[in-house]
Amino acid sequence: MRLFLLRRSLGLVANLFVISVIVFVTMNVLPGDPAATVLGIDASEEAIEALRVELGLDRPAWQRYGDWVTGLFRGDFGQSYFFRVPVAELIVERLPLTLSLAVLGMALTVLAGILLGVVAAARHGRSGDWLIMLFSQIGIAIPAFWLSILLVLIFAVWLRWLPPGGFPGWDEPRLALQSLILPATALALVQSAVLARVTRSSALEVMGQDYIRTARAKGLSHGRVLRAHVLPNALIPVITIVGLQVGSVVTGTIVIENVFYLPGLGRLIFQSIANRDLFVVQGLVLFFATVVVTANFLVDVAYVIIDPRLEDRLE
């Protein structure tokens, strides 16, 4: 077990390292000079050159990469070319929004997904099951950005219940929560559709097992069997899926934040790619990759804890 954890952790770090090299190389290959992009079309060549020196862009790429990597060990994620502040500061500034969105999205996902899945399994073969599976099919096929637009159209443009985009900041908690409802719903709908399916099939599989039939034959009520026997056993695969979905929801915020114009990390990363703001992109890609990789890692660990025999297979 300990060896397993160690090897997986090393693999995790190696993955992140390779990703950072890929990002660095791509960003340096991309046409576009950060200094010129920042200064715009009315700037003089001298001013651009001066800014290049100030930002350290006059030094060779590998040196800048080396400095960045050594900086990481001191907890320094580099400077933003565009905003001229430490990358860490930018991330910390925008993290609360993305985090709130992801947490809200995840909460809705789990709540709706498991509930719908269990209900569908309980009403297996009946119209309720059929309806929920239809919802699930639709949820999986619907493009998140279109769903967002539809939600805005219905709840912001026609009904005017909720704001169509933007974020007022947590100083005004009620408004802030309101502006997160639509994006979180858009995030959660697709994921809860997936989760509902998994929950349903897992519950159905457990319900097909002999001991459940025995329990039912003993005269236990349908609901009682469901709660006492089916759910606890069916939840194991569900929890692993939820773990994987944490990664999907967090990366899902990238697109959703852009559709709803939310000033979070997802919007920042698009802006930063456009601005050639290398270290911000670097920091954010690593952030998102870390979340995904760690979520997967934790799922694997959970697997092994539940069933130590899996250790070999996962290797």
Partner: protein, 275 residues
């Protein structure tokens, strides 16, 4: 089993409809999808324009039809290219085992850890926005998916008795892969490809939505959607229709893939019998 499952039938119908529309639009659309006439903008549906006109007075139906070709071509080429490379890598990993297998699988982990949309955006910006580069970016995302699925399935076949027998007969790894492994996992791969088709359509739409896909005047659903987004107050149907097309196309391939999987996966059939 009572005939074709409804999901599979619906999926096949949607996919068939999409294919027919795409082929038809190559030879005929009600209007020239690129013909601009600003005086005709934002028209409601009429006999001449069954789905109305867009912000530049172009016929919506013609544009939606023409865009289906774009979608199908991108999705097909991306899945084909990504699938070929991914399957080859997966088969190789499975046949060789050892460090080669580990290397391929670690590379796949990498592919999964990198948020796909970011990868596509960075590739598209690096090579410039165009149809070809969109295909490249989506194909790239597909490679690890196919590699992982192929390797997993191939490993199971390798453990079977008839493969052991073939090996005892002195067949090389490549021969066994070609004669025994590939035919046995082919149904699974076809199912996976159908599902990846749906994913590719979504990815193309997302990239076009972000302005990185096909360039004007080639119509694409994703770009139509993003252009219509600011017009929501004025002409909501312009945002609804292209999204509906994406949705139906993805739904079609998704249902088809699921239906095919149910048909080929004996485990699920057993679950159905039990229930």
């Amino acid at each position: 089993m009572r005939g074709l499952p409804i999901g599979l039938a619906l999926g096949a119908l949607l996919v068939g409809l999409l294919g027919v529309t795409g082929l038809l639009s190559l030879v005929w659309t009600p209007h020239d999808p690129a013909a601009i006439d600003v005086a005709l903008r934002f028209r409601d549906p009429s006999a001449d324009h069954p789905l109305g006109t867009d912000q530049l007075g172009r016929d919506m139906l013609s544009r939606l039809m023409a865009a289906s070709v774009n979608t199908l071509v991108v999705a097909f080429l991306a899945v084909a290219a990504g699938g070929l490379i991914g399957v080859a890598l997966g088969l190789m990993a499975s046949a060789l085992g050892g460090w080669a297998e580990a290397l391929v699988m670690r590379a796949c982990d990498l592919g999964f850890a990198f948020p796909a949309i970011l990868l596509a955006v960075m590739l598209s910006t690096a090579f410039g926005p165009s149809l070809g580069n969109t295909i490249l970016a989506i194909a790239f995302i597909n490679v690890p998916v196919f590699a992982r699925v192929t390797r997993g399935a191939a490993n199971q076949i390798w453990a079977r008795d008839f493969v052991t027998a073939a090996r005892a007969l002195g067949l090389s790894g490549a021969e066994i892969t070609w004669r025994h492994i590939l035919p046995n996992i082919a149904p699974l791969l076809i199912v996976q490809a159908t599902i990846e088709f749906a994913v590719a359509i979504l990815a193309e739409a997302a990239l076009s939505y972000l302005g990185l896909g096909a360039q004007p005047p080639t119509p694409s659903w994703g770009r139509m959607l993003s252009e219509a987004q600011t017009l929501m107050f004025l002409a909501p149907d312009l945002a609804i229709l292209p999204g509906l097309c994406i949705f139906l196309a993805v739904l079609g391939f998704g249902l088809l893939g699921d239906g095919l999987r149910d048909l080929t996966d004996p485990r699920l059939v057993r679950a159905r019998v039990n229930a």
